[in-house]
């Protein structure tokens, strides 16, 4: 089976005013179709950079990135949809118009894209905010609009960079359940970034732990348990303890 996402030995260095910053070193990763793969690692370890490479927005300095077997040479919204860490909503567009953006850029007729966007607002809990502008929304609502914008184009691969980072705990759990539901129904490939162990274990088929900068893959943890997962089962508690030990070490290093 051709992997949805194949990353082979990529590296990234950013030139900054205070010299080069090595963000990624020799990172390889393969994500199969229909997988829910989560990246977790200390702040600044290059998770967003890696997602940017898969999305065709950040050219790698070495190695190669393939999406559905083809080398990535630029953004390809037909295959990959992104939810960014900074939601990046267009301030002059309403909720509905922001969700429609991708379809509009693809030339989908107005009536059709309005229909798709409207249907997405209900499960996102944004139905009453269709005609509001981003400045009138809470941080969590903005992030949900960004999720809607990515789902609207219905690409087989979805990259999500801390999509629930701005949400309160309760909403976060609910949104997690909602996303899980969508993923299980549509069988999309999801590459997800979070700082929450709970979220990683509740949602993912696989959790990839990254090292402190320069980011490398430290370990990969398969989570082969049926959904919805009982998070307080003995198995899960043990998995969580193991994951925490891995991440703790890297977070400590990152803070030095």
């Amino acid at each position: 089976m051709t992997p949805s996402i194949l990353v082979e030995g990529v590296a990234k260095r950013y030139a900054t005013a205070s010299g080069p910053v090595e963000a990624l070193r020799e990172v390889s990763l393969s994500v199969d179709p229909g997988e829910f793969c989560t990246l977790i690692g200390p702040s600044g370890c290059g998770k967003s950079t890696l997602l940017g490479m898969v999305g065709g927005l950040v050219p790698p300095d070495g190695g190669r990135v393939l999406v559905a077997g083809r080398p990535v040479s630029g953004p390809d919204p037909g295959r990959v949809a992104s939810v960014f860490q900074d939601p990046g909503l267009f301030p002059w567009r309403t909720t509905l118009e922001n969700v429609e953006l991708g379809l509009e850029l693809q030339g989908v007729p107005a009536a059709r894209r309005r229909q798709v966007a409207t249907d997405l607002l209900e499960p996102l809990g944004l139905r009453d905010f269709a005609r509001k502008y981003p400045r009138e929304l809470s941080g969590g609502m903005r992030q949900r609009v960004a999720i809607g914008r990515a789902l609207a184009i219905d690409a087989p691969i979805v990259l999500m960079d801390e999509p629930f980072g701005a949400l309160d705990e309760q909403t976060r759990l609910l949104m997690g359940e909602w996303l899980l539901d969508i993923w299980r129904r549509t069988r999309k490939t999801v590459l997800f970034v979070t700082h929450s162990l709970h979220e990683a274990l509740a949602l993912s088929t696989r959790v990839v732990v990254m090292t402190a900068r320069p980011g490398r893959i430290k370990s990969v943890l398969g989570v082969d348990m049926p959904y919805p997962r009982a998070m307080d089962s003995a198995e899960m508690v043990a998995l969580r303890a193991g994951l925490w030990a891995e991440i703790r070490e890297e977070s400590l290093r990152a803070m030095q």
Binding site: L57, G88, L101, L105, Q106
Partner: protein, 252 residues
Amino acid sequence: MRAGRIALLRLAILAAALAAWEAAARAASPLLYVPPSAVVPALGRLLTLESYPDLPASLALTVREIAVAYGLAIAAGLACGFALGLNRLLGRAFGPILAALYAVPAVVWYPSLMLFFGLDAASKIAFGFLLGFFPIALAVLAGIRQVSPQLVTVARAFGARPPTVFVKVMVPAMLFTLVGGLRTGLALTVVGVIVGEILGSKAGMGALINHAYGLFRTADYVALVLVTVALVVASDALASLVERRAGRWTES
């Protein structure tokens, strides 16, 4: 409620100024100081084309000069602003020069413009253009700097090519600043054309003003100035309307 109060306040200030003017003018030489009570009949004579029958032609000429100068300033300002703003090398090379030139009191260029373009409309248009050009070009540069790189990234990720990024991201993101620059540009173009006419011309509102002033027809002079002020206020009101529209559309 608030709008009513502001209007009332403006009216009160106007009335006070007129009263002070009347009192001061009556106490001084009537040849040099015109009381408002003398301006009203002069304005009447002006508007019925008794004192200056060529008022409509002069007004039309001035408006035409403004329109041409402003059109040129918009075209050149946008072209220059976008060229310097979108091309990093050009921007580095010429951006600072543009800002420095804007700081020079533009009137120092006027004598050379008159030598070059003559006493007719061309030199007024050139001067109005010169004044209007800078705020427009600089607003484009400032607007481009305001565009959030994150929005450009998002648009690219969803499949926008550079021309689409320009239309769907850059233009709306910079619209408010741009329209502000266009408004300032219009105001300065009007200043340029009228100052140009007053500094030396044979036709237009400035020429009429010079004529009345030179003959000590002070009441007529004030009436002409009032008509010119009305022209300026009307053009600015139009621009501010457009600006408010743009402001409501974009986010301030």
